[in-house]
Every structure is written in C-alpha cells, then in structure tokens.
C-alpha cells in the first residue's frame, strides 16, 4: 500500500501512514461534497438576492464560530 503514499516533506510529528491513506481515500468524496456545498450556498445566496430576500446562505469561506453551540 506504500504505492499510494505521497512524497511528504518531513513532519516532526508522526503523520501516520494509515492516517495519510485515509485522507487520500476520503479526500475526493469530501472534496466533492465541499464543492457542491459551496455551489449550493452561492446559488441560494444569489437567488435570495434576486427575490430581494436577506442573504440566505453564508459566505463560501465562512468560518465556524468557536462557540457555535454554547
């Protein structure tokens, strides 16, 4: 399975071979979900503006609030 690994720049902590493989396995799926999510937010935001509503979505690069559920 070493064939699927990246040529990493040295990290001072152990990144974990399995953890890197995990990122490659799930990265494509989660990347696609992320792109669709950003697209959907932008779409709803644009449509909301067309109909004069308040911004229905959050910006694509919105950051989570550190205390979001407190």
């Amino acid at each position: 399975m070493g064939a699927t690994l990246p040529m990493l720049h040295p990290a001072y902590i152990d990144s974990g071979t399995g953890s890197l493989v995990c990122q490659f396995l799930i990265g494509s799926l989660l990347g696609l979900v992320f792109i669709l999510k950003v697209f959907w937010r932008n779409l709803t935001s644009t449509v909301g503006r067309w109909f004069g509503k308040r911004d229905a979505g959050t910006p694509a690069n919105a950051e989570p609030k550190a205390d979001s559920e407190e």
């Binding site: 699927t4 990290a11 974990g16 799930i26 989660l30 559920e69």
Partner: protein, 463 residues
Amino acid sequence: MTSTHDPGRVASSFRDPSGFLFERNGVLLRQVNSGYEEHYRMLLASGLYEELVAAGLLVRHEETDEEPSLPSAGSRVIRPERLPFISYPYEWCFGQFKAAALATLQIQQRAFAKGMVLKDASAYNIQFHRGKPVLIDTLSFAAYREGEPWQAYRQFCQHFLAPLALMARKDARCGLMSRQFIDGIPLDLASRLLGWRSRLSPRLLLHIHLHARLQKRHEQDGPPRPGTARTLGRAAFLGILDSLTAAVQGLVWRAKETPWGDYYRATNYSADAFAHKRHLVAEFLAEANPGTVWDLGANEGEFSRLAATAGRFTVAFDLDPLAVERNWCQVQRGQEENLLPLLMDLTNPSPMLGWANSERDSLAERGPVDCVMALALVHHLAIANNVPLPQVAGFLAALGESLIIEFVPKGDSQVQRLLGAREDVFPDYDEAGFEQAFGQRFAIARKEPIRDSSRVLYLMKPR
C-alpha cells in the same frame, strides 16, 4: 516548569525542531530556530499573524534583541504574551474541548487561505485566554506545499475528535482519558468504545472508524517507493477540514443531572445565610486584595464571580463536569474575561505528567496563587475522603498565600449526609480542631459566623 536537564528551557517544549520556549530572568521567551525562519517570515508577511491575533485566535508576541538560548540553532527570540494559567485538555469540560477543537480548525482554515498549514494540532497548544480559546504555539505554522495532505490530521482526530465523540456519545467523564493518553485517544480504542451505533454518523464513520482501521492496516508499512507520490487536491483538503468542522459541531453533550449539578438549588442554606456568605466573601476578598484567585470546589462559580468581577483573575475548579459546563456557558454568555472554569478532583489533583514526569505541570506546580478560596469544601476532603485536617491545611498552604475558607460543622445537614452510612471516625473534626490544624500553617485574620447557619467563614494569612 523548566527542564531539570536543560536549565531555563520550558520542560514541555522539546518536540518541535522549529524552536522552543525558555525562561530568562523570569521572562518567558521563544527561540525561533534557523530552519524555521522561512516559515516564520511567511507567517508575518502573509498577514496571517495579524489576522489571527486580531481575531483572538493566536497569542500575541513581540520581537526582541535577546540572544538565543541555543545560539548555534537560533535565528531570533520572540517574547510571547504570558498567560495567567496553563490548563490541560483533561481539565476541560465538553464545551471547552469543543471550542478548542473548532478554534484549531478555524485557524487551519484561515492559514490555508494564506498559503500555510498547521503542522501540528495538539490540544496542548490551545489555552483559554480572556474567555476564549487561543493558539499559544507561534511556530505551529508551515508553508503549504501543493498536493500535501494535512500532516496534523491524525493528531487532530486523536486529540480532539475522539475525546469529544466519547464525551458526547458515551460519558462526559471520558475527557479524563486524555490524562492517560497524553498524545490523544488511540483511534482503535475510541472506535471500540464508541460502538456500532456511532457508525451511523457518516463523519464519525470516516474520521474515527475507517481512520482507525486504516491505521491498523498500514501500521507496518515502510516509506513510499520513489516515484509513487500521490497528491491531495485543495478541494479535498478543504473538504476534509469542512467535514471535521461539521463533525465537531454536530457533537452535543446532552447532560444528565449529576449530584452537584443542582447544588445551589438543593443547598441547605437559607436565602439570608447565602446573602450573608456572599457579603463576607466579598469583604474578605477586598481585605486580602489578591491579583489571582483559585476557587476550589467552585461548582458553577457563584463565589468565583465575586473575585472575577472585581478584576481578579480567577480559576474556578470543580470535579463535576456539569457544574463546570454550566460555569463555562456562563463565561461565554457574559463574555467574562477573568474567569476560567476547570475540572479538578481535589482528592486526586492533576499530577506531573508526560516525558520525565515534567511535561505537564501538576496543580501545585502551577501555583502558588495569591488567594485560595475553599468554600463548603473542607468536609468533603476531611470526611468524605478521610484526609486529616492538618493535611488539608498543608495542601491548601502549598497552593496559595491567603486563604478564605468555610468550616462546616458536624451538625450541618450536608456533613450529616456524608456521615449517614458510616462510622464517625473524626473526633477532631470540630471548630477547635479545625482552628488548631490550620493555625499551624496560617494566622487567622478574620473569623465570622455565617448568619442563620452553623457555618463559619475565615480569612487566613500565611504564617
């Protein structure tokens, strides 16, 4: 604590070759090593440092002309803002853990937008300062190189996601596992403890269960063969961060009542006694005039706030996760900057931990504080835990200078409850015995009975 092997160097600061913390003439300094210089410059030049400091997510520092502690390796020395108290993940309630995790992800997302990444995601790099989580390791950033995965992904899942999932889905006390597993909860263990139902959560399925399985499968793998490099695209990188953020945000602790969670409502105080106690504590605090206070057995922080609102930095310790959680929520709601609620079992306080038993400081090592408050606590230590009163006095004397302490006599219903199912083997537990035991360590400066109760409040000064 500084290292015994390398005088001046902060004992926990040895892993990262980018630099290290050291103390010189009582001032906390950080050496930046030559090999990290390029990344440090990028942190400043990209505007990331200013952005994170302005957002309260990164500790502020000043550049100095100080000589490096290790001149052969160092390129510069910076002076980070010193925080009044260093806490550890095993002392955080669920809400604090979650806030720390989200802050780490937010920092990573902002760094990525500036072409940098967090090269580590240790929970020990996050501290609570002025009521908010803040990254204290200025050297955690590295230039992002196109196609690289997140090297701190494993560490983030072990340090944050696994304990949070266990706390939310199993028991809030699972946060204490971080005390044993100092590099985060092993994912195979988290996976087993979380059980099959957690696999129904797609994000936990990916980041905990699948992740644990792949770690197991590849634990014996060697380095990749030359020419077989794989890359992780930017969208995939951001997708992983977004998914981790959603995973953390989706974890909610639905707290059940604990014996202490209803403490103030179930107390045996009359309203008059409670008001008088508040008045006396405020008066004693004004008389002792401490800059820093530790309130031991603080519950939800009712009396801690008397100190904190007067501008005194106060740490409110309690052993009950629900009480600490409620206290933390109040800190958040009120944007309180001087109060830090933490979990602490005083019958088994945080010990020295980690490499050479000196990486993480014990509670006592983080003192002494100007003033210790021990209200309605002594009977729990002396009767519920059988600690002789002179030892209680010795322990409290080691933690702080002055002491505000409440004596709760045997006639009090709370003490009667503790004695309910056991023999009374505490012949010296009375007011005279208390004063004699504490008199060996402290001078009694004030002694006031609390109105409408059998309790007595003392202000004591060190001998």
